[in-house]
Symmetry: C2
Subunit: 549 residues, 2 copies
């Protein structure tokens, strides 16, 4: 689409928003069309509406001119496509809709617009001396809370299932109509932000991982700061040790003792979080194989598996949770350490003298632990972003921008049951497959809910190395193929992999019917979480032409 | 609809299911067209499919012949319309789809069909010596688990939000197509029953309180039997005492100490649970006014407010929860009693000698406590059904059937924030309004989630008394009017009150678009949780012609 429709739309958008809020400069468009892996969609312009009414009118113009539009909140969808649209189209950048509209200390929720970042919400709560904690994803402080929720991102606290702790959406539909979900549609009600269902069919589910509406407002539930908080960190030196750990933790997840997401990263993942690829030691060879990783692991005292989680409650509740956790993990981990504010301060203060005395590099441990400790209290961190530079041969810049810097990052994130057998099966398959394809198998297994885990597999590479985009894409496709076949479907897709949306023709038909009903002109984010049309092969996503520039 | 379409459909259905599974006998149809209040829809036939394939074909026939069909699971939707359709149509009775298909002890869930009753599931778990507890609604052991979930019913345990603890729906759409929600559409996956969202837009929300599909299978999450369980019961003698209690309990709900639904019934509610209207003492006068109720309350040692809830966990967790609860309720209740299996047995054993000694009628207390105690452990009970006979002048029969017996029961159930101010405001309004209309204000306030409560208001009457249907209907409408106006919308509607579905024209348009897309011929449960069409008045439901026979 580059014809007269686009030209007319652009002039109407400019008349509406002012020229300064319709970005057409080629450098900016190229940047917005660049992700951390090969993508196809080209950004034709970027609209910057100021409020919901602007969004409605932008959508109406798109309908009149039949121009596809793609909303982004903050565009920090790293590893899944950043700001890049699935197909060519115009971005609607919602960053200017950044108001925090309501904070209810008593009922523990906040109502925000999509431009509100994790950092902004965190600072707002601090400035107000709020006794409420938010949940944060590890991605970046500049990440949109609403954007991450709509992608079904997850965090670290008891509110870690973001989609499960948000409600009362205000949504601009593809026709430009505006609806409120849940009880929000009832005029005088205070119940809107408090419950998920509302009266009658509930629309919330339709609006995450979807192209059926633009969310312009959302209420997010917060948790009251607990009387007592302790983080725990555990380490297993056994490469095959994860299964027993998951089987030991599942009952504590199910009985409510562990109320938050538990993240368990492998050695590769931890290494990438604290350093770049050891190009010199490896004499330029990739990947870092398991034998080399095992040696490094011992040198740096990293576990084969490294877990973290939080305990929240009264002093007595935390004490009991600690006792249960200790009992459950006995004999299954090599170290289990509890950390609270006091211990963390002591460690920070005495890291240097302690190293002199004991030889243990506490500051290295701190560098790893401190950001996770913060996340377990809902404090966002920038530290995870650094790991995206893992395979770069250049130093990590201060103003990190993985898209601009040619960082290669593809996240593949299957869902699996919280059982040792499944976790062992899946992680072994992944490890072998990634190494065979020449990539380090960086992995985190997160016990996201009582019953299911999400494994986030990182394919990390250097986009400026010739052929790497293609090799990473092949690895991703091979991985998806085997995961879907073994019964571990992805919880989330990237903009180049929407072809994996299907799996059932009747589901595709139903979704297509709903899409046509709500978006008759097909202008809203075509291809985004849209099932492949009948006739298309279900499991092979359309070929992607690399777009490294 | 009574024309040639229906005749043709009936002969096709008979060919499909056999004549014995197409009920056309007038007595049966009249019974199925009778609820506990005035309704409009007439049942024209009852289809009894044996399996999902039958359901699909029944739906296809309905489409071809343009005959409206209304699915019911067990038809025990007491107080909201029993089996009666919103408009004239044919019932699809799903009672024969009653298989329990899967039980996973490890991951704590069960997969069932809509005909599975609470009693059946409970007995299945017991026979298997399962260590898992289900959640039960107080309605009736013969109530369908799936049916109650789809109406968004709630129970008493930590799994009390039924809709929030169910997933992986198998759904026959109005076209006859069958879809699986969540991850269920992926072939080999075990993750289907474990998580809500799936990949891409989630359809689950659309299918509860809706007329968009017939659910033929569902996975329901269960809870592992805790190491320790204690019920608690509290009583406040202050008519204005509820606000302080709710403010005291909310923080414990929000911090995870109280993980289950807490139910607080008023004096009228408790009285109706243990006896019928005192016609003799009242010399036939209704309603039982507040002064008379206050006297009775003291005689029978009922509180103005009577609460119950459960504590689940390890011994130490329950001990700590008990300490916190005691602290929170200190000075706000007149009695707080903890009950466990041992104490209950002792009470049952010594009720009679204890009465002789102390004069306290323990068996009366037991009659009240024992069923609630069971519900807190997920054991369904028949006892609540008796209260439906409150205003009847005849004795309660052994084979209770409120529809047949002319029991008048209308439930009106607004949602409100978990704050003392809201609870006080709402309960006072309700009390005055019901008494003015000549009905006892039976009420339960249930702290259903961390942030919101549901108040279930019972309008209990005798349908065989002339004019009572109309008076009850007027009272219901007056109640809805004032509740919606004050910001307390209903969480659920009865078959005669679907006119309250609206509240926002754009929401109605969106839902109408989805309905037309999925049900082009409008054959599935027309009017059921369907917004009033544009032009119809939002807040006044269509007049209902009483159908007492």
């Amino acid at each position: 689409m580059d014809g007269p429709g686009l030209a007319r739309a652009l002039s109407e958008w400019e008349a509406l928003l002012g020229a300064m809020h319709v970005v057409r400069e080629s450098g900016a468009l190229r940047a917005a069309s660049t992700a951390t892996f090969a993508t196809r969609g080209q950004v034709q312009a970027i609209l910057r509406p100021a409020n919901r009414e602007d969004v409605q009118q932008c959508v109406q113009i798109a309908n009149r001119c039949r121009v596809p539009i793609y909303p982004v909140s903050s565009g920090r969808n790293w590893g899944y496509g950043s700001r890049v649209p699935v197909e060519d189209g115009v971005l609607i950048d919602l960053a200017r809709l950044n108001r925090i509209l309501e904070l209810d200390e008593e009922l523990a929720y906040v109502t925000i617009e999509p431009g509100v970042t994790q950092r902004q919400l965190q600072e707002f709560l601090r400035q107000r001396n709020s006794r409420l904690w938010m949940d944060a994803t590890g991605a970046s402080p500049e990440c949109s809370v609403v954007g991450n929720t709509l992608e079904r991102g997850f965090g670290h606290t008891p509110m870690g299932d973001h989609c499960g702790n948000a409600c009362a959406l205000e949504v601009v539909l593809p026709t430009g109509d505006c609806v409120r979900t849940g009880f929000g549609r009832f005029a005088a009600t205070r119940a809107g932000a408090l419950g998920r269902w509302g009266l009658g069919p509930s629309l919330d589910g339709l609006l995450s991982q979807s192209n059926l509406g633009i969310v312009t407002r959302m209420s997010v539930w917060l948790m009251p700061e607990p009387e007592c908080f302790q983080a725990f960190f555990f380490v297993s030196n056994e490469e095959q040790g994860l299964g027993a750990i998951v089987d030991a933790l599942r009952p504590l997840r199910l009985n409510g003792t562990l109320r938050s997401v538990i993240h368990i990263g492998n050695d590769y993942k931890v290494l990438a979080a604290t350093s770049q690829f050891p190009w010199a030691d490896m004499h330029g060879r990739t990947p870092l194989d398991q034998a080399a990783m095992a040696r490094l692991r011992r040198t740096l005292s990293i576990g084969a598996w490294n877990g973290s989680g939080g305990l929240y409650g009264t002093r007595a509740q935390v004490r009991e949770a600690r006792a249960q956790l200790r009992r459950a993990l006995r004999g299954k981990v090599d170290r289990l350490q509890f950390v609270d504010d006091r211990l963390l301060k002591v460690m920070q203060r005495f890291a240097r003298p302690f190293r002199v005395l004991s030889g243990w590099d506490v500051s290295r441990t701190l560098k790893l632990i401190a950001p996770v400790y913060g996340l377990l209290k809902g404090v966002p961190t920038e530290s995870a972003l650094k790991s995206v530079y893992w395979r770069k041969k250049t130093e990590i810049p201060d103003d990190m921008d993985p898209d601009r810097d040619g960082c290669g990052l593809l996240w593949c994130s299957p869902v699996l049951p919280n059982t040792g057998a499944d976790v062992t099966n899946l992680t072994n398959v992944v490890t072998n497959l990634l190494l065979e394809h020449g990539f380090e198998p960086q992995m985190t297994v997160s016990l996201a809910t009582e019953r299911s885990a999400i494994c986030v597999i990182t394919i990390s590479y250097d986009r400026s190395a010739p052929g790497e985009d293609e090799r990473a894409g092949e690895c991703y496709r091979a991985l998806m193929e085997v995961l879907v076949e073994r019964g571990y479907p992805p919880y989330r897709l990237n903009v180049s992999s929407m072809g994996y949306m299907t799996g059932d023709a009747s589901y595709a038909r139903a979704l297509e019917a709903i899409k046509s009903a709500l978006d008759p002109n097909g202008i809203l984010a075509p291809g985004r979480y849209e099932p492949a049309r009948a006739g298309q092969d279900a499991h092979i996503p359309p070929a992607v032409v690399p777009t490294v520039r």
